[in-house]
Symmetry: C2
Subunit: 299 residues, 2 copies
């Protein structure tokens, strides 16, 4: 089996590769060799460990997106400046490699000058979402460790805003004093109450957090309800701060199913009917679009 | 040297003891035997390691406050319910001990039923602040890992509110993606700008945080300025959410000098002239007030 080209999503903690043939996906593989765990000279060997079985005679093109192009990645790639199309096949950056069997290109991230913001990897998912929904105008939200809200118009990312929502939830639920009152499990109504509270009074977020611990101590708030409410509070506060992005506009959610389901539920309470797309599918669709343009240019 | 009585501030990470004589402080000692690091049967030995040199013939009273009385402490002590005086000498709880040379009593924390809240240790500092400023009516703010704003009237804690400010700053500055852009050092004007931004738009806190990282990446925001701005943002958001506590009222700040200086600066920008007291001094004054009442009752 020989791949026509290879799609790579190289995040901070995971490396994912997909072998692509004329009919689509031939094989998939992943490893823990995230960009955050490798020294610059560790990237090429880590990639080859994963994709060597898919290489044949001749040169196989590899298209990569994500933190691999950050200052702490394999090869720093300058971000493109918004407003712009999420992905420009002419702007891919070639990485010097030692192994003659591969050529590697990285998709540049996007930056916004005022207010300052950056993304790296999401631009490819946005390109994929637009490839799957041609002509989409509105908001694309990409929930995750860092959640991003993007204003899309005429195929361009007009503006965007990053939120630390996922990272704050992880830090507070695993390491702060709140952890003593949380437990695995879930409670939809506690999540809904948290979203409502976070959306109604985002200016009181700092005051709402400790109350979860206090209610556990003196009012018996169960651990799963406490955890769902904390998640709801953060998502509600994010939706309040991101209101200008989604109010009255079509919304696409691109992310892991678990997260898009939560955001979809929170938005539904605001009468916003968001459509959800898988992050993996959008990444592949974005890279495939770039690969298609490259192969057309090569013909 | 024999102590008349011993004052103990037993927090999560530190144990501090002061030997008191007829004229005041005779000696001080502290150790890392915080309440968070000891099993229930480890408390009495940890205390004796520190205070044994101060014990003579007869029984020496020990008065303790802080997490020592929490469910994870030496001996769980039920909280008193606000509104109430911060410290009631008749409500101290005696801990059973093995060593006949000491008697140990713990100051109960306070709880508020609606909205749910708790404090343990701060009640003693509030009692001390009121002993140092008899008749004070207004707001007492106790900044720290968890910051607490308390409404004081006629010698009672009428209501209070806990904020996770210190803990969130520590988690985000040391462990989140923001840490890459922060550095030791300080920048007063960046702190002031953070406070102003946090106070003006507390509802956008979730959106303001990542901007610090982005400005570091694409606009060269220096590490010390980024750190000061993050601190300012959190303190500003806290002051906004706590506005009902301090607006138009006298304010006492009780805490470590480093923190009361920051809060004092932030409040001054709102034309609030807060007075600062040392946390250590207030704890001792609070315990001394309880000890005085006990010794009067014993005569």
């Amino acid at each position: 089996m020989k791949a026509d080209w290879i799609a790579v999503d190289w995040g901070t903690s995971r490396l994912r590769a997909v072998a692509m043939g004329p009919e689509g996906i031939l094989a998939e593989a992943q490893s823990d060799d995230g960009a955050g765990r490798l020294a610059p000279d560790g990237f090429e060997p880590a990639l080859l460990r994963l994709i060597a079985p898919w290489l044949g005679p001749g040169v196989t093109p590899v298209l990569a997106c994500g933190m691999v192009g950050s200052p702490e990645g394999w090869h720093e790639v300058a971000c493109r400046t918004t407003p712009c199309a999420p992905l420009d096949p002419d702007a891919l950056v070639t990485v010097p490699v030692r192994d003659a069997r591969i050529s590697v290109q990285i998709v540049p991230g996007l930056k916004q000058l005022r207010p300052a913001d950056v993304m790296q990897g999401e631009e490819t998912r946005i390109a994929g979402a637009l490839a799957l929904h041609p002509g989409f105008d509105g908001a694309i939200c990409l929930p995750g460790t860092h959640s991003r809200w993007c204003q899309i118009s005429a195929g361009e990312v007009v503006s965007f805003q990053t939120f630390l929502t996922g990272e704050m939830f992880a830090l507070l639920s695993e390491q702060s004093v709140l952890r003593h009152g949380l437990a695995e499990g879930w409670d939809d109504s506690a999540f809904d109450a948290g979203v409502a509270e976070g959306m109604a009074r985002p200016d009181r977020l700092m005051a709402q957090l400790f109350r979860i611990r206090a209610e556990g101590l003196i009012a018996g708030l169960p651990g799963p309800a406490a955890r769902a409410r904390l998640s709801g509070l953060f998502i509600g506060a994010e939706l309040a701060a991101a209101r200008a992005w989604w109010l009255g506009l079509p919304v696409l959610l691109v992310g892991p199913d678990r997260l898009t389901a939560l955001y979809s539920r929170a938005l539904a309470a605001q009468a916003v009917n968001a459509r959800s797309l898988s992050a993996t599918g959008c990444t592949l669709a974005g890279l495939a679009r770039a690969a298609g343009a490259l192969s057309k240019a090569a013909r």
